[in-house]
Symmetry: C2
Subunit: 368 residues, 2 copies
């Protein structure tokens, strides 16, 4: 079979990894822009460690901490202006998926004077600035993917761009930075990572290599179910979840996602349901929908999770996520229609119609 | 735990991958030197495919086909001169481990006017030329490692150099090119790949990520034992072996090797035993020596190979490799002493003395 493999990111994993590897920073230049949100970089401790390492390395930097949750094109445009004005040599993204994804857009816009909508052309005159990614959640995997998922208000959804040059060149992964996540964020991001592994594993685009990463990630989730359910999230669990989320990123770097993400984007855009939670609500019906088309792989997933059937998986999601949000007919139709327009829908292992999308949504949410 | 992960190579895998991806070549420049040996590039068909792709892309090239088996510093020096004189923008290595490793040295020497012995300083004023690697055997894994293993006649052994910049930037992996291997070469290189996975898995330097690759590689070897034993090596087997060898490379890119390679180098240097065969002869006693120190992992290896104990593994090696070569006392002492000087020896999971080395050699070979 024919496939590609590429993870262009060098990963440095472990407690204290920034301080211990600060000499890495100098390789990328003398002026950096830190791209982050209002809080997580600070409360996680990552910003302090990075600032200290930059100071000790004699690297000038400025902080752009205006990244919103689910950043819009308008938001990253502003970041690009800041980076251009500062004359940045490289970009450091700190945070969850939103700041990390935004940092990729900022890296492009800092050196390309284009309308942010043209990010989706995926071809740029000037090579994006090098990106260093520092996750403070364990779900996105953005630190090892080229993808930047931005909110398109013009299309009322989220959509990703990215090419070989938007892979972060370096990722610092220190599980201490994820200790500041609340229980809900921990659960939601873990489920996001699981959905990356699962969707990639069952995708039409799965490869032998992406399957290796996917199985490992799914097994790690299985190993940590008890910790998640009982809210006993010690440091070893944090390290496993961070590692799992990186593996999930390595999966989708090759496969992309499918209909869980495609449907989930609407739940986030219109109903403000956190991304990972949205995926978790949909996953049981996603398995049911695809079971006949991917029996062997779904059985393998259940085995790696130590579960006897899809029902048991659904019960776990119920336990972790509680009651699903309400949805009415009008929303069902709109969300299904928008999901049909996502390119990733075509990679689902079983062909999906708009009616299928409506059915999955209806079964997954609290339909009224 | 703290560790690094980096595979800086983009891999394109599958039948026809060069022809289908020839646009990749243009990214590296307008003038290429093909570094290869006398025969395998031609008989494998790889040289024809590369030449056609280069011609169609308007890339000028020359061929340096003087790479010896187990290339020496003198040999790569010559290659470096050819590449410098040609004004190469990039290097294409085609072949087994010898040409691929040599291509890395040529890429450095083409742009650094240094004595080849200074390759071992691992720090170069000018960045090595980009390297494209095209394996025609399935053992070395060199296409996804930064290592270049060269013969040091001054030290009567083989020794490796390599840094982040000597990772091939691109690997074309087409199992058709491995069909021209003889049965012996197929077996020897498969065992070489297995030894990479096994040594990395048990190494002090093993990481969670390298272990993922190692287990996958070992399981693939297990799946193909019957094909190897019965010499029924169809195309699917070739693809699995090539994939396995890449995974083995991804393991040692992070862990390096240990005493199997350290001892094996002498068997190759002084007794002309092919590299993979040398490793295979030593592997049973390597397991016995390390069993108490790495019980859980060696049991896992045996399980992945579907074997009940180390004896069964030894019997398989006997079947695949036949009678071991003779060795006398003088050789034992010399080989053990040289292996003690290899840096990789310190990464063996159990501390090794010179007497231990002698014991392993004596039990592995036909001592007289």
């Amino acid at each position: 079979m024919n496939y590609r493999f590429q993870i262009a990111t060098k990963v440095v994993f472990g407690k204290g990894c920034i301080t211990e590897n600060k000499e890495e920073l100098k390789k990328y230049g003398k002026r950096a822009v830190i791209v982050t949100g209002k809080t997580s970089a600070k409360t996680s401790g990552a910003l302090d460690d990075v600032s200290a390492a930059l100071n000790e390395s004699g690297i000038e930097y400025t902080i752009y901490n205006e990244i919103e949750n689910n950043p819009s094109l308008e938001n990253v445009k502003e970041g690009g202006k800041v980076a251009a004005a500062f004359g940045a040599d490289f970009i450091i993204g700190i945070g969850g998926g939103s700041p990390l994804d935004a940092s990729k857009a900022v890296a492009v816009l800092a050196v390309n004077d284009i309308d942010p909508i043209d990010l989706y052309k995926n071809s740029f005159n000037s090579k994006p600035l090098p990106i260093i990614a520092i996750p403070t959640t364990s779900g996105t995997g953005s630190e090892v993917t080229p993808y930047s998922i931005l909110t398109r208000n013009d299309m009322q959804t989220k959509m990703s761009f990215g090419n070989e040059d938007t892979f972060p060149r370096l990722a610092f992964m220190d599980a201490r930075y994820t200790e500041s996540m609340s229980y809900d964020v921990t659960v939601n991001t873990a489920i996001d990572a699981l959905s990356h592994a699962v969707e990639g594993y069952i995708s039409k685009r799965s490869t032998p290599m992406s399957d290796v990463f996917a199985r490992e990630a799914i097994e790690l989730f299985g190993k940590r179910i008890d910790n998640l359910v009982s809210n006993k999230i010690d440091y070893e669990t944090r390290e496993d979840l961070l590692y799992m989320s990186m593996l999930g990123g390595m999966v989708i770097a090759h496969t992309g996602t499918t209909i869980v993400h495609g449907l989930g984007y609407s739940l986030t855009y219109f109903k403000d349901i956190p991304h990972g939670r949205a995926n978790g609500l949909l996953m049981k019906e996603y398995f049911n929908f695809n079971y006949e088309a991917a029996k062997e792989k779904i059985d393998k997933i259940l085995k790696l999770l130590n579960m006897k059937d899809i029902e048991e998986f659904g019960a776990l999601m119920d336990k972790l996520l509680g009651k699903a949000e309400k949805v009415n007919d009008e929303e069902l139709y709109k969300f299904a229609s928008l999901a049909m327009k996502q390119r990733s829908t075509s990679f689902n292992i079983r062909s999906v119609s708009e009616d299928d999308m409506i059915y999955i949504l209806k079964k997954s949410l609290n339909h009224q």
